[in-house]
């Protein structure tokens, strides 16, 4: 029997980026808020201090900051004809854990989507006709427009102090920025980061080919910055230990460096760490959440009742908890009916190696940062005419090499032996003069009828609950798109002066062991009616109106950008709707 805790106004499941944003916004309304987190408390000076944060073996190879599969995993299969098997250790994606979530160990590549990404289905249909899209593609509009979301992108950027060069300021194209971006209301809060030699050379190569390169928007800050909450971030030192690592000098935007110092001072907030929410509880109508059940580290079960439940876990686990709690109708790929689990997507990334003459080029690859880099956006979204190409979607192309860590990033030419003196010689000859970017072509993944999430019939977690099952494979459209981007990337490497270019094309079937970003999306998507989505445009559950679901699980399909900028913007957008509309009149914010 669960022990019942005193009632709260709001219970938040998951204390990462979105949990921190929602907690801070709702405590500002005077509400009593608790955030429940399955991982530990973490902070800069105690958990990733400067004296040992740069440990490639511990953090990059042994994955110390990530969720342990023994605590929670997923199962995977390429298609419904296979038996899904458990992911015994993470490979294709790395899932965060603990306070701050993935916001602690991300690279902080801080992108906005394109305006047309939010109205994708109608945009593509209008431009190319309905028959242009593959039959089994299930893309759709988000239910919001650029003008809805832009103020909240701005809010998230100013929270984080994002470094970048504006490309489109209130409709006017700016030199040096991304000319394809949607109109922004303000410049970035801090100027773009400095760029290393390899990044700069890429920009020169791209310019030679007629492109308009621009610095990647970055949550590693070019300058120290004090955000509107009064919290100060430091200046990035280009240490080259960013993604997979915590930042030791407060210069990477994270909940810890932007929100928690303010949130934790509030008397109407508390966090519970090392507690795993096992269920969202509903009343007997099934239309109202009464709170959550969770289990603490000693195994004791608690019930936390609350008026408002905000689901802020990672996308996969948002969907798992909805399915386990009986909220909404599970998706059925045969009939196409049901909303929970559909339109699951990842990211279609490809990259390669550029080997340069070691006597002429020294890139110092270790002098770098998580979101450093120069990019072009000519081939993202619908910035180019897809008519003659036979595919839709795209991505940015960039020299976004984040590090020169010796285990991960050393590369040798393809004909080198895998060991022995020749291998050593090749390692030495190429380490400083190679461009090595795994995700240089950061492509979209659109949604399909047969890519989805469901509960696994066989494999269980430590409480006996079914794991969430991923059914996912690449479709021809994505592979064509990715190969197209990779071709362009290779041309730029040649224009930079590479003596040898080695391309690593993305090939089907989808491989759960090969890292390809942790950008998992969909499964509880937003939309304009309950017939095509789990959530309304404010991320409110159509089925249970006092439940809001944050995060990339709301994406109907994935765009050609890193997702966190949009995750943060949606969280602020939803928080604003809760504060300005829901609290005044609790109930559905959109009537079906």
């Amino acid at each position: 029997m669960a022990r019942r805790l005193p009632h709260k106004d709001v219970v938040i499941i998951g204390f990462g980026w979105t949990g921190s944003i929602l907690a801070n916004e709702l405590t500002d309304e005077g509400l009593d808020v608790v955030a429940i987190e399955r991982g530990p408390w973490r902070d800069t000076a105690t958990d990733f201090p400067i004296s040992y944060a740069q440990d490639e073996l511990r953090y990059r190879i042994r994955h110390e900051m990530f969720l342990r599969n023994s605590q929670m995993s997923v199962t995977f299969r390429n298609n419904a004809n296979q038996t899904a098997l458990p992911v015994r250790t993470w490979g294709a994606f790395m899932l965060g854990n603990g306070v701050g979530g993935a916001g602690l160990h991300w690279n902080a590549e801080f992108w906005r989507f394109l305006p047309s990404d939010f109205t994708l289905k109608s945009h593509l249909t209008q431009r190319y006709g309905a028959n242009f899209l593959p039959d089994d593609m299930t893309i759709q509009d988000w239910g919001i427009t650029w003008n809805d979301i832009e103020p909240y992108y701005d809010q998230f950027e100013y929270l984080c102090g994002t470094s970048g060069t504006a490309g489109n300021l209130r409709g006017e194209i700016q030199d040096g920025g991304n000319p394809f971006e949607g109109a922004r209301s303000r410049p970035y809060p801090t100027p773009a980061m400095k760029q290393g030699y390899g990044h700069t050379l890429f920009a020169e190569g791209a310019r030679k080919l007629g492109y308009k390169p621009f610095p990647q928007p970055s949550g590693n800050l070019s300058h120290s910055y004090t955000n509107p909450l009064g919290v100060t971030l430091g200046q990035c030192t280009y240490c080259g230990f960013c993604e997979w690592f915590g930042c030791a000098n407060y210069s990477k935007a994270s909940p810890q460096t932007t929100i928690l110092p303010v949130l934790m001072r509030k008397s109407n907030f508390e966090g519970r760490t090392d507690c795993e929410v096992t269920k969202i509880n509903l009343d007997n109508t099934g239309k109202r959440a009464t709170g959550v059940t969770f289990v603490d580290s000693s195994g004791e079960e608690f019930e936390q009742r609350a008026d408002l439940v905000i689901l802020c876990a990672f996308s996969l686990f948002n969907v798992q908890l909805l399915l386990l709690s009986g909220i909404g109708t599970p998706y059925d790929p045969q009939s196409g009916r049901g909303q929970i689990g559909r339109n699951f997507t990842h990211q279609t990334v490809a990259g390669g190696l550029g080997f340069f003459d070691k006597d002429k080029y020294n890139f110092n690859p270790f002098v770098s940062a998580g979101a450093i880099g120069m990019c072009i956006d000519e081939f993202n979204g619908d910035n180019f005419d897809h008519g003659p190409l036979g595919f839709v979607g795209g991505g940015y192309i960039g020299q976004v090499q984040t590090n020169g860590r010796p285990i991960e990033t050393t590369a040798v030419p393809p004909d080198t032996p895998a060991w022995g003196s020749k291998w050593k010689q090749a390692l030495k000859d190429n380490y400083l003069s190679t461009i090595n970017v795994g995700a240089a072509c950061h492509g979209s993944m659109y949604s399909y009828r047969d890519n989805y999430l469901s509960l696994d019939p066989t494999y269980k977690d430590r409480f006996g609950r079914p794991l969430v099952r991923i059914t996912l494979d690449f479709h021809d459209n994505e592979i064509k798109m990715s190969n197209f981007l990779l071709e362009k990337y290779g041309e730029i490497l040649q224009a930079m002066g590479a003596k040898q270019v080695v391309k690593h094309p993305r090939k089907p079937p989808y491989d759960v062991t090969a890292y390809q970003t942790s950008h998992l999306n969909g499964g509880a998507i937003m939309g304009d009616n309950p017939g095509n989505s789990a959530l309304n445009r404010y991320l409110q559950s159509w089925d249970v109106p006092n439940l809001f679901v944050m995060g990339a699980s709301a994406y109907p399909q994935n765009a050609g950008y890193n997702p966190t900028g949009t995750v943060g913007a949606l969280a602020f957008w939803s928080a604003h709707a809760i504060r300005s509309q829901y609290l005044k009149n609790p109930g559905p914010l959109v009537h079906a």
């Binding site: 400067i50 004296s51 120290s224 009064g230 430091g234 110092p261």
Partner: protein, 426 residues
Amino acid sequence: MHEHKSLLATLVRLLLFASAVIVPSGPIMAAGIDKQDFGQIQRGRYLAVVGDCAACHTLPGSGHALAGGRPIETPFGTMFAPNITPDPTTGIGAWTDREFIDAMTKGTGRNGTHLYPAMPYTYYTKVTRDDVLAIRAYLNTLPPVYNPVKADQLPFPFNIRTSMIVWDDLFFSPGQFQPRADKSDEWNRGAYLAEGLGHCGLCHTPKNFMGTDKTSERLQGNALQGWFASNITDDRRRGIGGWSISEIVDYLKAGHGRKTLGTGLMAETIGQSTSHMTDADLKAIAVYLKDQPGQNAGNNEDRTPAVASDQPIMKRGRSVYADECSGCHAGDGKGTEHLFPALDGSAVVQQTDPTSLLHVVLRGTRSVGTDKAPTAAAMPEFGWLLNDNEVAAVLTYIRNSWGNTAPAVSAEDVRKARHAFVERSD
């Protein structure tokens, strides 16, 4: 009756959480405590914050404001602060106003017992009777908490309270603050606060062997409880001589100044006391402190380091600094405002006694977060990584670089500090 009381207590607690209420501390007409005098209660709340009663009388994490029980370290042993809630048996609910005034200003407890000067009555003696009564009026409104506090655990002969009679005769000069006619009202207000309720000297003035202030070295810095309370005279190198009035006010208000962040015991003082004080009172304190002469008041131009940069200890220190410190404090020692303290020109770095530096390097610390500057950045601990020679070298380096000068820190200093810190929980 009970209900009435808890309602009042709730009201007062609500006010406590409201934004700073500015109450002027002028003379009032009432001769004693008037339960209806809301203004007096408000003023008492503010004065209790100025006096930082909670620093000793509230046990952190207990959830009971001013119910006592917090261990207080003194050079003579550990004492436990009493319960000053209005509980009649374990608190001061049964005390008369006279007894309260005597305890605050004369150091005498009920029935003629003598208090130990851990209770800063040597400072509070300067507080006006009206202000003491206002504090009492406020304390009367707190929820009474039943909390018998453990007896003092002082060794002989300090466990004999009557010994304090002798101590008082020798060291205690009672008497209310007397304003100086040759100084401004602001200066006098600052002096009244700093020498009275604010009791700055309790931490910042060096003590003699009997635990009393060395008046000749007033406010020139003092080691206590694993920290060194810095020199707060106008000394340009080690004191606040290089600070403007507004920088001092900002530091006391926000916990962050141009060059330093409040840490250790001062973090608590800022968090609980000065950050809640009015700007006018903080400015008055700053004006007063800036007028306290320090040793280096005039000769601040000599920037010759005490240890030359070509000494081996400095070379080693520079290497340690480059690898472990420069990522935050920067190669030029200038840090980042509101985040990483500047070491260049820092008074904390150049104190004669390096205890605070040893503390933050060996054990790390969190700076204070306030409404105005919430970041509360933390310094990681390096005690696990750096050996005694390396700590000595890096501290000697920062104390003698960029124009800083201060005596070298020895490996023996580090060894002793390491040993002393082992038992500490802060």
